[in-house]
Subunit: 294 residues, 6 copies
Amino acid sequence: MSVTEKILKLGLPKGSLQDSTLDLFAKAGFHFSVKSRSYFPSIDDDELEAILIRAQEMAHYVELGAFDVGLTGKDWIIETDADVVEVSDLVYSKASMRPVRWVLAVPESSSIQSVQDLEGKHIATEVVNIAKKYLEKHGVSAHVEFSWGATEVKPPELVDAIVEVTETGSSLRANKLRIVDVLLESNTKLIANKDSWNDPWKREKIENMAMLLQGAINAQGKVGLKMNAPRASLDSIIGIIPALRQPTIAHLADENWVALEVIVEEQVVRSVIPELKRAGAEGIFEYNISKLID
Amino acid sequence: MSVTEKILKLGLPKGSLQDSTLDLFAKAGFHFSVKSRSYFPSIDDDELEAILIRAQEMAHYVELGAFDVGLTGKDWIIETDADVVEVSDLVYSKASMRPVRWVLAVPESSSIQSVQDLEGKHIATEVVNIAKKYLEKHGVSAHVEFSWGATEVKPPELVDAIVEVTETGSSLRANKLRIVDVLLESNTKLIANKDSWNDPWKREKIENMAMLLQGAINAQGKVGLKMNAPRASLDSIIGIIPALRQPTIAHLADENWVALEVIVEEQVVRSVIPELKRAGAEGIFEYNISKLID
Amino acid sequence: MSVTEKILKLGLPKGSLQDSTLDLFAKAGFHFSVKSRSYFPSIDDDELEAILIRAQEMAHYVELGAFDVGLTGKDWIIETDADVVEVSDLVYSKASMRPVRWVLAVPESSSIQSVQDLEGKHIATEVVNIAKKYLEKHGVSAHVEFSWGATEVKPPELVDAIVEVTETGSSLRANKLRIVDVLLESNTKLIANKDSWNDPWKREKIENMAMLLQGAINAQGKVGLKMNAPRASLDSIIGIIPALRQPTIAHLADENWVALEVIVEEQVVRSVIPELKRAGAEGIFEYNISKLID
Amino acid sequence: MSVTEKILKLGLPKGSLQDSTLDLFAKAGFHFSVKSRSYFPSIDDDELEAILIRAQEMAHYVELGAFDVGLTGKDWIIETDADVVEVSDLVYSKASMRPVRWVLAVPESSSIQSVQDLEGKHIATEVVNIAKKYLEKHGVSAHVEFSWGATEVKPPELVDAIVEVTETGSSLRANKLRIVDVLLESNTKLIANKDSWNDPWKREKIENMAMLLQGAINAQGKVGLKMNAPRASLDSIIGIIPALRQPTIAHLADENWVALEVIVEEQVVRSVIPELKRAGAEGIFEYNISKLID
Amino acid sequence: MSVTEKILKLGLPKGSLQDSTLDLFAKAGFHFSVKSRSYFPSIDDDELEAILIRAQEMAHYVELGAFDVGLTGKDWIIETDADVVEVSDLVYSKASMRPVRWVLAVPESSSIQSVQDLEGKHIATEVVNIAKKYLEKHGVSAHVEFSWGATEVKPPELVDAIVEVTETGSSLRANKLRIVDVLLESNTKLIANKDSWNDPWKREKIENMAMLLQGAINAQGKVGLKMNAPRASLDSIIGIIPALRQPTIAHLADENWVALEVIVEEQVVRSVIPELKRAGAEGIFEYNISKLID
Amino acid sequence: MSVTEKILKLGLPKGSLQDSTLDLFAKAGFHFSVKSRSYFPSIDDDELEAILIRAQEMAHYVELGAFDVGLTGKDWIIETDADVVEVSDLVYSKASMRPVRWVLAVPESSSIQSVQDLEGKHIATEVVNIAKKYLEKHGVSAHVEFSWGATEVKPPELVDAIVEVTETGSSLRANKLRIVDVLLESNTKLIANKDSWNDPWKREKIENMAMLLQGAINAQGKVGLKMNAPRASLDSIIGIIPALRQPTIAHLADENWVALEVIVEEQVVRSVIPELKRAGAEGIFEYNISKLID
């Protein structure tokens, strides 16, 4: 392979995921800078080239080989029926750690109670293929229309039902829609072109990227805790800590005490710290971490 | 017809045209108010109901009868092959009074020189049907892919050519693209559902709306001019004025003078005023008008 | 009176009404300029001095004579029981021309159906005195608590009912509250101190200000219309126009035509113009006016 | 106690303290999310329910039991004479670590020199009860008027003196006011309802919350320092460090050196680091901590 | 002269005057559009080309012939000692209609009382040549240093005195500076290159531009007034109106009344309207004008 | 030396460097707070006084002794020929770690190929002295004109060439300019007045400040890494780490493992972590540091 071929082409999702994606890459050690209105981020790694495109068309261009690797949702891989390698799941959406769901929804007051009631109805959606397969599977014949946006305001004025994505359901509720069925759960994935995956240099580069992205995601909900513990209480204190690994132990000048350090889930800290203090720990402090690779 | 049926359902374009459209309706005398993030503007006319939807899907929903009347581009009427009544042209886009054009564009350095060179190539566009018909007409077989956005940054990395809309060509130039051919010129149109057009009450309401919208558009590039003129120079002064209609003439206390009033194109004022002053007119002043119905 | 005493002290409402108030004064011919965060607007009239204070305390300071004249709501005059001269009503709120209402509201699901059901309950409001008098009038004993803000989110968690101001009721609906009774309708008023009103110089200054403010308000919903009319159709055309006064008539060079000019309500224009055109009027145009004193 | 009763109702201060309060809770491990214009933050703890209300009315609603626990200032507890448990002081205001002061202020040029000079004067303030008690204590009779805002611009045009809150005095200086006396110092407090405090489950929940909030406040002005020290200089280096606790000591491969780690006040670092380096420490680095519980 | 030479090159001031300048040109009938961060406005007149540059260097480039015509202050013409034609004064600054002044200012507490006290002192200014000539004229020797900005904060820390521009003096007061002397009054001017002025085609183009710019400035403080007047009161009503020219008179259907129309100074309207109404005028309305050429 | 003399006067650069400079000082432990539009930051160190002035005039005022110490570019020290002590280089500009360059640039299509072609030409620049010396050194005579801004848009309309500063060259390319020569490379420097440098108290204060600023800069591109390593693989793992110093080693409860901690360059982390993991390290995590003094 020639020197000039040692380039990995990366597709990044433009739009609502863009900022959190670039933020995730930065935490993973890849610092992109994007000029306002530009689609070509620059990056401090001569072996990487990136383009920002819509998540909806990512899988298509990874399949064609325009990108070696890209980030998109499982939903759009299915919708575009793209033949790509799914390298890893990346769950970093800010609003919630839960996957998004594509649901069939109708007006609260609609008489439609199940997919069977859709016969002959009009349905608006961004995922026309997914919706059509779903109807076909249930033996229902209906009009599926591509929706250019604001799908959730269309029923009942413009259509009878929609197939729409939701995280918490709050936008559906605000538009007085009722969920009838769930078609699909989806989350972000790192995907690779099949030929790129078979190229050893590209594959190692992609695997390292996947490891570092995962390390940055892992670190998001974790913190470091340090404390001084009386030797006499060491076992009971260790018993309290729901550590991901066993704690590090360091000396203090006073031999009756030791210093402990552990990485824990951030959300347990508010219950663990009061217990640790009651068990005799002192000088307990918490700090943030930016990557965690187990 | 029952009283409750005396409602005209109006589709307004969401997005880049929204503000200028609502502004135009306000000038025409229809004052909508839109709450942030709402798609249902309220209006001070009990016989009107409006919804904001994307221009791309307007013609479809007017054809289905979800709307009686709507605003969209000629391009999207053709793309969606919708069977609707084209009531009138509305040329009010702020950037330019020229119609927009859908063009075939390729990288400046591309070897593609005409539609014939597209054989087997990849083409990205928002108007898949228009592009396919164009290729078919020229006997060319190529891959036409729907583009979800940022079409102009795709060549040459992702596709070979694009079919994209342009007003001034500046975005194409900024992306180093060259125009190969023009597929279509387009401007905004007021369109009506065929059944609504046959309903006398709805038709009069639509025609009045068209007249008032056109009146507001007419007024945009026009101003009123008033001046005092010596009776002796009246003919030569009238000769200078490129009036849309004959001037109004009013008295002054001094019988040797008269007052003239005319509506003229705003863009001729800067050449006409110096001439009028040299011809003897005095106290020339200009004022703005908000509607003009000839 | 000495020259230096010829100063009229004016209180302007700080807060949500501030911009529309200063805008109204500008239309009336009084151009205030307010530096960011300053409470002392400067004005191009050496006989005027203005301070911005909350509408709630305006009537109190006008009564005390700290201001000669001020703008506030009828509601706050009543709440503070201030002894002032009510010079004129000023209806210029942007959201609606309707007066605001102070209403008794409870949660939609509350068992409270009338004022009688408030016995022993907790009520939050900004207008403690108005609420207490209302309860007293109905012989009900309840806890009325002053609310520092966000009154409409308090039921049912913090209180049982509220007395709150509303224009359209939309904020009440958004908080799932039901209106039980209306205590008071209110609009903005120009009020004067009693001694100032008895001073001839101040009174003329206040009356002129009232006339000009009213003139600016009058102009807001009116427009000027001009058109050319065939002499033969003059009567029928004049019959169509719902003019506030009889139209002005001017000559045209062509003696078979005359020019008409009238001031009409802006909201009738959209129905009148189509009629005028059908009746033979030509060159109809509309222009805006900035003051109208009948 | 049933499962459904295990809910702690928390009042959070709406307004200028809101962002710093939610930020403090986040550092303490309680992550609220507040939708724009909502008063009901959601929280990742099923045992907590929160409402945002003005600090002025917090103590009243904690006393009534509408909240189990809340944050407000000592000033408003006194002003509303609320009977609540003061759980702990929370000094986290961003502008300054000093408590705020309520002061009696008059125009720089006023003849008022002490509280005795207020006899018969007009005084504007938000804390009417505190002001009245202060005057009563000094045997002075004056008019105390509730001020709806912008109190500091009122003298001398509208009132003779004010009782107003100040942190640095800069707003008073900008309005050319002079401080005559200090009525009260105040800081934020965590307060609890008396019945809630007697409920063991609620009390432990409140005490844990107080501990974690205090831990987050403690961490704000502290940093961690690590360095390598020659064994020979260990004692002199430890002597330099104004550590909150004794340093942690860890090994290096080179046995002549040890690694030290301590938590210190951030503001001493700029004087300590140069000394440490001169005393032989190497590889000194500083890191941030997010909680510190001694 | 060839067709291609029929271009007038225009220099427009970049910076604080830019928006008001482009606004003035628009009112005069020249509609420039400036893309964000561009220095080359486009214009709807094929005979005009414009560049935005700093007012400080305008006169220099007009003298060199890089521009045929430009706008800058009299101050910078003097400072750069440029040999140009001063076509007309353009007084359109928003903050005030008064010319700006370049003043010698010192700290309020400085012992410097007159230019004579500057001997040996340090003076910071943007107009080094004007300051040096001023000192020379008074026989004083001092250090004049070019100031790159924020001149008014430099005394007394960095320099003893400044020569600085001021409109209202408020920035000087805010920095506690005292004005010792006025060196120069200045306002905006339209200037032309000497050769361009001698070219008949360019000269007429420049003179027309000057006339239209002046027309737009004239219109800013003027309004149109119309009213109906009883024939019996016509003379007394005309006597009240401080018209720039004699009023236009038009008929009404009722022969006892006439319609009057005049252009007046906007600032007299608030005193004239009450008088007109008292004299019997009815249906008085005011409208705005956009150009006025006497 | 008296107590009142123990003040160090510090000049900070106003403008584009301001935010990053104050941010750097904060990281170094000096927390300035700047009110909007103020030039006098306050600081939590009674021995420091700071003023914000333009970098262009900093060296001049440090030389005069108005400041004891200041930050500016090497370019402006040379341009103003100031006689100051250069204490240290501070490379903290955000856009790039490379020094900026002052270059001679001409339009892409210009015939100018080297400095020799500038004879008789017009050159615009902010660094008039540097440009003149450069021309003199090459024996070329040309017109060097001070440019007040937007230098890069002047060729070819207004001048033939420019001497302008550039970091990445992108602004030059956007204006279609070609670099002919590089006159100077420059970066930010901490400079001191010569007398201040000879004062022992001031010198120690300046040297400590330099050490802490450098410590903050050092920390920007570094992170801490911790991991657990099997004793058996310790040597190979240490061999992988490009540590700035030898790692700290701590115990774990399990004697077959040890904990390692090192500070490394952030940009090597993305290649080191995958290697460490393959070599057997576990529980690898990364954290940020805020100062690093070697």
